[in-house]
């Protein structure tokens, strides 16, 4: 029956969720990463940039934060500020793999 798969195989329409951690400098450049190299680096850069922006805006609001977690329906992004940069953890929240709280 494997031949049917060969005929109907298509590129997945849904993007895989990133899993792992990365550290970024104050400009959002990745320093270290354990995330699959198949995951688009442009998206990782976007995550880093947004996270650093949230830390900066929290400081501007006189509400400095050491840690920020963005809870999406299927992904949790937790970032801890590190000397201007940040360490960012990405946890997919799937039915198979759910990281508590």
């Amino acid at each position: 029956m494997g031949f049917l798969k060969k005929i109907f195989r298509r590129t997945a329409a849904v993007q895989e969720l990133p899993s792992g951690s990365l550290t970024v400098d104050r400009n959002g450049n990745t320093i270290t990463s354990t995330i699959s190299s198949a995951y688009p680096s442009s998206l990782l850069k976007e995550i880093a940039r947004d996270v650093l922006k949230l830390f900066q805006e929290a400081r501007d609001a006189q509400m400095p934060l050491a840690e920020i977690s963005l809870h999406f329906a299927s992904l949790r992004v937790t970032a801890r500020e590190l000397r201007g940069g940040a360490i960012i953890f990405l946890f997919p929240q799937t039915a198979m793999l759910q990281i508590p709280g």
Partner: protein, 354 residues
Amino acid sequence: MENQPKILVLDDEADWLEMCRQVLTQLPSQPEIRTAQTGANAVAQMDAEPFRLLICDLKMPRIDGLQVLAIVRRRFPDLRTVVLTGLEDEEFRSRAYALGVDLFWLKSDMQQNMKMFLDCLESLLGRDLADGFRGIQNKSLMDIIQMECLSRNSTLLRLTRGPLVAKIWIQDGELIDAEVQGAHGEAAFRKILFWKSGTFENLPAEPHHPRAIEKSVNALLLESAQSIDELDTQQTEIIEKTAHRKTVWRISLVAREGAEFVVAVPPEGEPEAWGTQLAEPQAKWTRSALETARRLSERLEAGPISHIAGSNAERNVLALPRENKLFLVGWTPDKAADGQLLEKTKKLVASWDS
């Protein structure tokens, strides 16, 4: 003694309250002294019975003095207010006066000039509660507008009465526009003239504001004076009563759940806030953070944002969208120990508009 004035003293230090009680009993008018150690309790007492004077500390946990004064300004516009604080920062003084307080005293000054302090309080107690706008005692709004126009002033008068805010633009002594409750021009001006009390402040003139009123101010004042007794102000009173009930409900909700502060951010306009003096910047952060998260969720295909949690050594915050508002709720770290922060926040937010 029916005419015995009542004074409410709000301070988080029990010893200080007791000292105040003893001092205030020396006042010639022999007022009845009540005390409260929290803002929520003070508001509850003011809600239960009328007071002539509130003496309020500024630095208090949970709901601080400025927050209480903001509530008082909205809900008890006739109540005389005195700030008695240990904070010597001039910024607090100007912020307190901006909230319409009648007197600002430092605790150290009060102890050194006890007689003068008591004289000031007695004077405040002696003032009758006639109609008038705070800032210029016993002057009607008509008087204030006439004074501005006769002086050929250019200013923007911002008037508040309970939850209502009105604006009157005066340019070179001429009335050019007014705005209240969605009304503009002459219609708004006539509405505003029904206000018999409230607070007002002079804001910088807006010389480029378009002219919407062509009639002379005297003609408008005359017309309004003729009809002022005929029209019904019932609608305004209903709004004030509703806002009053809502305020009481929200204060008790915040106190019951143990939140440090709550900022409710509407899609447009000013945020509603309890327990924080940083409502504007916090609302701005909440808007920006949830918008950033929304954009990121689209790019990552990670599903809608549920909430954003933030923390530092002093507090935890949770930002989340709810119906047509965004909420930012602050909690002290001890409240996070049970791991139920999200549930507590959701519960508080769900009850907010009940």
